[in-house]
């Protein structure tokens, strides 16, 4: 069943997507599903394990469930410092 998910892209993902944020109708159970199904948006061939995800401003796992109305933040590999 399709869910309405707001997706936020960061750093290189945002540059690929061309937008900071968009709301998509998507058939996804987990954060990982969102990442995989939006490959043509964020354009990343990164392994999921290199990236991070947050749901509604809380750090999450790739197998965390997503619900209708959630905001999913897609983080490419971090490089602080």
């Amino acid at each position: 069943m399709s869910k309405s998910i707001t997706v936020r892209y960061f750093a290189i993902f945002r540059e690929h997507a061309g937008v900071d944020e968009e709301t998509v109708a998507i058939d996804a159970d987990t954060a990982g599903d969102v990442f995989q199904q939006l490959k043509n948006r964020h354009g990343s061939r990164e392994p999921l394990g290199h990236c991070k995800v947050a749901i509604n401003d809380e750090m999450a796992d790739w197998n965390s469930p997503v619900n209708d109305g959630d905001t999913v933040l897609l983080f490419p590999p971090v490089a602080g410092g």
């Binding site: 750093a11 990164e46 999921l48 394990g49 590999p77 490089a79 410092g81």
Partner: protein
């Protein structure tokens, strides 16, 4: 300006981690860690250097997702305080465009003895680098630019190496 370190008084310190878009001033920051019981202070600074993996770097652009950088940074500092017998620990990270020689991140720790200050300082910077949602884009001398850890990493990602 020399601020005699004998004249310290505890500053009001609400936040142990901060994301700022102005130059980091380690001299002001270290004063926040003064404590009459502190015998040791360890500090770390990450500076913008002019080279990375063979590329000549002209400047570095930091992108920080502040809400989660702060909440994750607070966790890191709480972990350091739980693991090591320290008195105070703070971290400040820059966002925006930085020039060669500028300070991108500062970590300071005070403790009674030096072992704990060194170990906690090292723990904090190590964790900050791998856990906080912070990205940097290198701008090269040849006019090109690249996101650190991203483009090269993606180029080299083979299907067999992909894992969840």
């Amino acid at each position: 300006m020399v601020i005699p370190s004998c004249c310290f008084h505890p500053l009001p310190v609400a936040d142990v981690i901060r994301i700022i878009d102005k130059p980091i001033d380690p001299n002001v920051l270290r004063r926040e860690l003064f404590d009459p019981a502190a015998g040791a202070y360890a500090g770390f600074e990450g500076w913008i250097r002019n080279e990375n993996e063979g590329h000549s770097v002209e400047r570095l652009e930091y992108e920080v997702y502040a809400p989660l950088a702060v909440s994750e940074g607070e966790k890191v500092i709480a972990e350091a305080k739980a693991q090591f017998a320290i008195l105070h620990a703070h971290c400040v990270h820059r966002t925006g465009m930085l020039e060669i020689g500028e300070c991108a991140v500062w970590v300071g720790v005070s403790s009674a003895h030096r072992d704990e200050a060194f170990n906690a300082c090292r723990y904090i910077i190590d964790q900050v680098k791998v856990r906080l949602p912070i990205w940097k884009k290198e701008h090269y001398a040849d006019g090109n630019s690249g996101w650190v850890n991203c483009e090269r990493c993606a180029e080299h990602a083979h299907p067999s190496a992909v894992s969840l």
